[in-house]
């Protein structure tokens, strides 16, 4: 039985990754996620068969992960917004070559260098692929220490199961905050199914190639069809969302990660005032939990999307609801953290403007 420990989010990812069988990590220093890299340096040294490389660049780090994944290891790299931009070519290769890997983005505020305050400015980059080509990355957005511990394991499982890169999307607050965590027991990596596709030398079998260049247009098209079939299966199998007080609600706030924590506090405040408001929190951002959201729109006509950016996830909400409901948006750009009171005021105003109290 694991006991409850108080741990920083970045370190929770590291510890959970090791317990999930991660045996290769390459990274490059960038705030606010350096504790993760440092944690992996210590943990890999203490783990038999574990490798840690401080890479010369973000680009080298993701490419080392490509090599490690080709060799069959559970591999991970992590960074923060500008560093993730640099890794995008490699993520595109991981997707095309159908290699499993986990990438952690502890988002920073703003485009360019940005500051290190919490932000959700990388939603488009994360969910739309980020790199070149017609591919998808599984995106998981935990919002508590415990969920980080649990979903980091899930990330490695999804990566292997679907042979696809998985992105854990966090921010400075998720990364730096400490909460009590109970870790899942470490897995026995020898019990994992063999990766028959991995490159381990052509002993007793024909040689294998892992590639993404297909000069024959028909073969290139077939690869893209194959990826698309896989993405459709993923979109059916793994969407995940939390619903909080939505059963009798006239309005639901939609938010993820740090923003959802703040929104939940706001929902509780307005509930105390008698407003029938709930929270819908996507946990997977790709695939987006569209069906679950669509379900809600059967008894609810008003949604308020709250993001720590100027409107990115709101597009997925509109796509999911297909015009069936009114979608409102409140966002603040990264760099500052809104308070539950602030969001409660926004909810209150909207609630009355839409005459929702009359529905009660």
């Amino acid at each position: 039985m694991s006991e409850k420990v108080l741990m920083r989010g970045t370190q929770v990812i590291g510890e959970a990754a090791i317990r999930a069988g991660c045996r290769f990590y390459a990274g490059y220093p960038i705030t606010p996620q350096n504790e993760l890299t440092e944690c992996m340096a210590r943990s890999m040294d203490a783990t038999p068969g574990g490798t840690f490389v401080q890479a010369e660049s973000e680009i080298a780090a993701i490419n080392m992960v490509i090599g490690a994944a080709m060799a069959g290891a559970r591999a991970m790299t992590s960074s923060s917004s500008p560093g993730i931009s640099l890794k995008q070519e490699g993520i595109s290769f991981l997707a095309a070559q159908e290699l499993p890997a986990v990438i952690v983005n502890t988002m920073r505020g703003g485009p360019g260098l940005g500051n290190i305050a919490p932000s959700q400015g990388d939603y488009f980059q994360a969910t739309r692929g980020g790199g070149h080509g017609d591919y998808r990355t599984i995106v998981i957005a935990p919002n508590s220490g415990q969920e980080i511990a649990d979903m980091t394991r899930t990330a490695f499982e999804y990566a292997d199961k679907y042979r696809n890169p998985v992105l854990i999307l966090a921010d400075g607050m998720m990364g730096q905050m400490m909460e009590p965590v109970i870790f899942p027991e470490p897995i026995d990596i020898s019990s994992l199914p063999p990766k028959t596709w991995s490159l381990r030398g052509a002993a007793g079998r024909p040689s294998k190639v892992i590639l993404s260049l297909l000069l024959n247009p028909a073969k290139q098209e077939e690869l893209n069809w194959k990826l698309d079939r896989k993405y459709k299966i993923i979109a059916r199998e793994i969407p995940k969302a939390e619903k909080y007080m939505t059963d009798d609600a006239h309005l639901a706030v939609i938010a993820y990660g740090t923003a959802a924590r703040i929104a939940k506090g706001a929902v509780r405040r307005v509930r105390e005032m008698g407003l029938k408001v709930g929270l819908f929190r996507p946990i997977t951002l790709w695939p987006y939990p569209s069906r679950e959201l669509h379900e809600l729109s059967r008894h609810m006509r008003n949604f308020l999307v709250f993001e720590m950016n100027m409107g990115q996830m709101v597009e997925d909400v509109k796509l999911s609801l297909e015009g069936r409901s009114d979608v409102h948006f409140y966002g603040r750009p990264g760099g500052t953290i809104s308070t539950p009171d602030e969001i409660a005021k926004i909810i209150n105003t909207l609630y009355h403007r839409q005459n929702l109290e009359k529905d009660s």
Partner: protein, 180 residues
Amino acid sequence: MKKTVFAGFGGQGVLMMGYAFAMAVMNDGKQITYLPAYGAEMRGGTANCTVAVSDEEIFSPVSSAPDYAVILNNPSLIKYESMIATGGTLFINSSLVTTEITRDDISVVKVPAGDMAKKLRNERISNMIMLGAFVSRSQLTSMESILNALAEITKGKKSSLMKSNKKGLDAGADYVLQGA
């Protein structure tokens, strides 16, 4: 739900106060979040952290109106005095914090922790004196829980460290009990 801000210069043991408090409360079986200032915010010598304690799920770990503030230097007083919730309690290390306090809707506990630490011949324990005063007054956790948490944190370090920590905690608690 109660939120507490600990703030001061880097090196004063501000983050350690918050961490020990958070750990004690976690072991009490309550919900907690601990959010430290990080990165560039830490450069230039200021440090702060926010600890939220509740019997229920904690949503936002940030506090715009903390119930308690434990302040170890003047810049932090200027930053946090106006934020403290009405009816809240401000603890200051009055050996270092000399700025006049203007709020009259909060309780102020002045602890000359610097001078007390000097008298105890260990200037490094002024944070423990403040923590002792804070725990004793706020009653958010017990002295026993704090001691257990500190023992866990300092595991493997010199036993004299725990002894001096305890000395500081007791001194702070006693000072408050005597009616500061």
